[in-house]
Symmetry: C3
Subunit: 401 residues, 3 copies
Amino acid sequence: MTSRPGDLNDLMSKHRPGYALPREFYTSQAMFDHDIDKVWNRNWIWVGHESQIPEPGDYFLFDYGTESLIIVRDRQGDIRAHLNVCRHRGSRVCTEGAGKARVFVCPYHAWTYELSGELRAGRDMGADFDPAKWGLLAAQVIVFQGMILVCPGDDAPPLATALEQLAPLTAPFAFEDLKVVHEARYPVPANWKLAVENYLECYHCAPAHQEYARSHTLKSPQQMAALMPALQERSAAVGLPTVELNMTGPDAIAPGADAYYRRYPLFEGYKTGSRDGEPLAPLLGSLTGFDGGATDVSIGILNFFLVYSDHAVGYRFVPRNVQETDIHVVWMVRKDAEEGRDYNTDDLTWLWHVTSQDDERIIRHNQAGVNSHFFRPGPLAEMEWAINDFYDYYKKMIATA
Amino acid sequence: MTSRPGDLNDLMSKHRPGYALPREFYTSQAMFDHDIDKVWNRNWIWVGHESQIPEPGDYFLFDYGTESLIIVRDRQGDIRAHLNVCRHRGSRVCTEGAGKARVFVCPYHAWTYELSGELRAGRDMGADFDPAKWGLLAAQVIVFQGMILVCPGDDAPPLATALEQLAPLTAPFAFEDLKVVHEARYPVPANWKLAVENYLECYHCAPAHQEYARSHTLKSPQQMAALMPALQERSAAVGLPTVELNMTGPDAIAPGADAYYRRYPLFEGYKTGSRDGEPLAPLLGSLTGFDGGATDVSIGILNFFLVYSDHAVGYRFVPRNVQETDIHVVWMVRKDAEEGRDYNTDDLTWLWHVTSQDDERIIRHNQAGVNSHFFRPGPLAEMEWAINDFYDYYKKMIATA
Amino acid sequence: MTSRPGDLNDLMSKHRPGYALPREFYTSQAMFDHDIDKVWNRNWIWVGHESQIPEPGDYFLFDYGTESLIIVRDRQGDIRAHLNVCRHRGSRVCTEGAGKARVFVCPYHAWTYELSGELRAGRDMGADFDPAKWGLLAAQVIVFQGMILVCPGDDAPPLATALEQLAPLTAPFAFEDLKVVHEARYPVPANWKLAVENYLECYHCAPAHQEYARSHTLKSPQQMAALMPALQERSAAVGLPTVELNMTGPDAIAPGADAYYRRYPLFEGYKTGSRDGEPLAPLLGSLTGFDGGATDVSIGILNFFLVYSDHAVGYRFVPRNVQETDIHVVWMVRKDAEEGRDYNTDDLTWLWHVTSQDDERIIRHNQAGVNSHFFRPGPLAEMEWAINDFYDYYKKMIATA
């Protein structure tokens, strides 16, 4: 009644490096359950920004697949993450998506947990019962420049070194001074891996994203290379690092401990990711001007950011079921910016709203075709190199006990 | 393409007595199919009251999981239950939920069955065809004081002795003189076992059921014990037995042949399970007054009743799919009571309507949490002892061929 | 994570010839996946009429189960069928149900395929990439008197000889001069095999199809035989063959290469399959009058036609999921007939609209009953002989690698 490792090995051996994954990775319910257990539950997940829970007791839930996490600021002001599963008979402990709590009381039998996750007491559990053993399971937490990353399982990829390297590069953006001004969810009837793969390559950008391709050179390695030297001069001038940090795939310190930073040029006339090229919000952090660039940042395997000079966009591809995924897009501007005066949400979100709608469509069609028994994984293009790394890591994770 | 006993044994061995069952028992589609086949199809199910089919030919269907039963009064006036599956190519024979029939004609090829289940004739089936061999499969039937219990499979738990013991205890209520006045169904996105477990313990009553807890002492063993002697005097005075009958779990005559009877006190001021404590309907059977008590009755493993002095409520937790269950609540009063004059349905059903809505919510959250890969079955409280017995029996049933 | 042949063999051995198939064939998701892979992907499927794509570039999609086919007329005017799966990473290439195309451009990365299926070029795929190896996978195509049949897999049943035998029999109807005037889809919550079985026998016609049974003698072998000689005289007189062609089951040249032709009498007063017996459209092909007959034609295992003197009806039972099937009914008249003047669509479609609604109902109830663990496959009637042949062939197909 559970998946059999024998089959999994067969399946793994069917994958030819440099090619897409075989069909079953995207169609099997047992494989989906495995993905949650082996991949999502053991990797760093970006769940939000610390400005979303400023005070002790402030919390929000982050749900994916079969899992639910409580992200909460405790009485000491530290951010913690708890598995939202009562230690008694397993009920969800917290059922509101966000709020302010003094304690978490399970709605079933009223087992009551501190903000720190400790069980206060087990009502009528008898004399032998030791509450100290029955606190909420803790997920690991890292707050990187205000960005909250959690890893539900025990063996979290060791991210510290990568973040140390990344920190000076992103410092000028002052992520810690951002606030979330809009979150959108685009449900797509496809496996989460197809959504991640979609984000990992810009081979599709020219044909599939008219608006993005008009302003972003990433769609064309040649054009990007040609415009890079001029950008690097401008970036340096406004206070931004121009080096690339690639600690991903084989260059990561440990599997899953990936970090990536690269600033690349927008086309002439574009100061930021806006419809007309004009600014959308006040400059981030310590920037002294618009350099006409955009920065790709990734942390771990599952978390992606695109940082313009005046706003940042975060992306997550949250599994719901074997062929149901929510694309989360999160827009952030500096915390002291004011809607109406300093930015306009409709303008701010325009580009990645239309681009995400495109992605929903193409990922959906990708899944439909992959479902065919006649799907034969084809060769990846040079521009899809990051997908190869993703496959390598993914296969490593699901193969471990 | 079917479930593998090997896995099942692994799974069984993972269960630690005194703790909740492991996740897979509540999440596996194969296990659900197994539950229907091994548990529901081989146990006594309370399907209704004989007053619902007073005349020969009167029938109703009872559906659960993948199964359907025809409950019918035959020409001799006896109540029978047939598997609602044509013996030819398997069509449902009867497709209306209730009605009056002279025969059952399969809508596909018109194979025609008597009320007794016998096949009248097989149209154009050739000379060698013997209709006597192709009657509808019969479920076993017991009518206990008007309550219809059926067991679809052949090896029904031997209930006779338990019902003999139970009969004098429930006799004063005159179940045979009840009528059903309202049935409600509360669909809950959870496995049926979580719904049964919920009914089996009142550890959750205090935190989860404000209205019930105000009037029923079952939520507190201490308070119940304190008020019990006074109740027993009052019960005896109105003609009700005060003994407890516990032929359940290890005390049952045979596995699945369980019976239970216990009258427990309501809080002062409550004559019955009403909003204000006042009577809801005429006294049942031979009762001479309100004793301020309520009786828990259970028959077999799956069937529960709560009997107040003036009405009875029946509960079933009907599996639909691995995480879909219908909570059935059935209200009964004496057959000669008249709506409007003797009882008011809205008042009558108030308590268990609000209580069932609470249960729907907490069972739903229980399933959501149990779905997590991080769910670790926790220790049961003393007040949850009946769940232990249920697990023991359940494991016995699914382990047998 | 995939189905195990061991279980399949167990399941096959459970089937008793002359009886219905066991439950699991209709309930298992793994078996459904197997059915698509082993049966549908390796048999001839009638997808439409060539008049639907008269010009080069005209195309339509035909979808079933997890599969999608592009049916297109190429630049040379030939009809081709391509698997609608990009050879790169598997996206659906064509996403509109029908239209006119110059090339097929994958919406994901713009791999561009000719109408012939060849890959024009692989954008940025590097110097080693040979586009000639990455054309769309081709399904085999036969156009039989205008009817388009496709077989997605390589080992198509060898249909040529059967079609040679069939050709002179259907010639008088001039199928090549038909046009499709209406298509209806009746979704039924049942496995596709139950829908095929339903079409394969008329044992159910008398009890289940009041309208059909009033006019068609097929419901009664005795009445059909009695009226046959007179029909044969009339058929000959109007130019129609009166022989039966039965190259099905054991009489097929090869498994799956089946063909069948038989004209049978309508009841007196019925010139065609109309409500009042009167003509619905101009006489087909070279017919010189109404003979009061109807012709059953089948090609391969999955494709059925009923040909009246003035119109033809095609039937397909298209799998969607293990218990979701679309019944397709397609009405055709001569291409030069004009709606309003020569035929009226409401009148034309009346009989098979009401009959298909009946079928939806009985097939649905069949599935509901078959889902029961108590379903025991029963004996087939003499009138259900064709189901036996279907089972034999089906078991052969799913047992092969």
